[in-house]
């Protein structure tokens, strides 16, 4: 059966996250419903991973395997015509049959955006953090996240995931284009439930001087969520990219 890859962007503000749920407004459900309407047969899609309620994506990836080949350009136009304007399928292409959006993903890249003075344009995608935290201190602290660690301390305590080991390749705050705005870019092989948001909340506590700059290694070692900081709100978080091996 042919396999099609979808590249999906969404504004998560009014959605209850990615993952299909009974009686709930989720992004996966909306896309499956648009595909089913367009193709006139039931379609299920597999995403690269979940995003929480209110979290956005520029580069979510999913796949589906219809029984026969379809007209990609026509389907793309039709699906985007059906979907609400907060969800856009940016690309739809035939890939090798074995492609799996979740199992084949090598890296995920997230951005978390903050503004430290009130922002009007794009406020929907920034957490308002005041006063301006010490970005240099936050970057010094974030260096300790790089590498392979057990991330239980940054995982929602009710998560059923047993393997809590993640490899982080990049974790750095950058100056954004608008005045007094910054973003935290973090890339890893995988992320646990609530992980980026609790990392950001903890780093902002450090940036505000409420937690020691050198406290991350002991925190990771504790493997206890209660030792980490609060969770930063969902609105600032965007799944920017899912990286696959190039031959996929």
């Amino acid at each position: 059966m042919p396999t099609y890859r979808l590249d999906i962007e969404y504004d998560g503000t009014d959605w209850h996250g990615w993952q299909s749920q009974p009686d709930d407004r989720t992004i996966q459900d909306a896309i499956e419903s648009a595909l089913t309407t367009s193709l006139r047969f039931p379609v299920s899609i597999v995403g690269s991973g979940r995003t929480d309620s209110g979290v956005h994506a520029r580069g979510q990836v999913a796949h589906f395997t219809p029984e026969k080949n379809i007209d990609e350009a026509r389907l793309l136009a039709s699906v985007n015509g059906i979907l609400p304007d907060t969800i856009a399928v940016r690309n739809l292409v035939l890939v090798k049959e074995s492609f799996h959006a979740r199992y084949d993903a090598r890296k995920r890249r997230y951005r978390y955006r903050i503004c430290c003075t009130p922002l009007a344009i794009g406020r929907q995608y920034h957490w308002f953090v005041s006063p301006t935290p010490d970005i240099a201190a936050m970057n010094q602290a974030a260096d300790a996240l790089i590498g392979e660690h057990n991330y239980s301390a940054f995982c929602l305590s009710n998560s059923e995931t047993k393997n809590r080991v993640c490899t982080i390749f990049e974790a750095r705050w950058h100056d954004d284009t608008a005045q007094d705005t910054w973003y935290f870019e973090v890339t890893g092989n995988r992320f646990l439930h609530g992980m980026v948001r609790s990392i950001v909340g903890t780093l902002v506590e450090i940036g505000h001087g409420n937690r020691d700059v050198g406290s991350i290694p002991a925190l990771l070692k504790s493997e206890d969520r209660r030792n980490a900081g609060f969770s930063a709100p969902a609105l600032g978080l965007t799944l920017e990219e899912v990286v696959y091996d190039s031959f996929k």
Copy 2:
């Protein structure tokens, strides 16, 4: 009397433009009301110029002249606390007494953003133009806008402005950061009512092959609005910057 300069950002989506109007929801009214509440005396502000209903600004400038000096930092925090989150005062500073936000403005810079495939994040700030127009042709046509011209052909016909001569310094389409998004950057000494939007509408007609690439000079010469293209919608337009002499 001291003069204070305000640098203002707004998401114009739900506002009836800048200019104060009886019984209408305008940005100037909202800011004057927030200043009046904070300072406990009536405040009027003078903006660099109007923006239409639905148009955004990142760099609108205004000034006001209270009878005595005020605490800028405190007023800034207070005003932003009162204003709805679609308006943000980004800076508030004491300037030389003679500063006038409108008369001293030397240049205005606007951006008009389009997306040519559906966009979810930031869709509020892009006009969806499909199919993708010929950007090179639009840039070739836009070159004819540079310099001093009578812009009557691009001015709303009911405008009462008598002097229709404007000098355009830059008028160019650029590739934006997201896939299949572009923005038109235009800088001039002044702009007439509806001017940027009718320029953009006309250029997109050229980019879709419905109007000749070399048609702009004759169109300007005609000085007749009926010869230009339709007005591009307000949502794509942002007043990015108002430029003053540096000594102000």
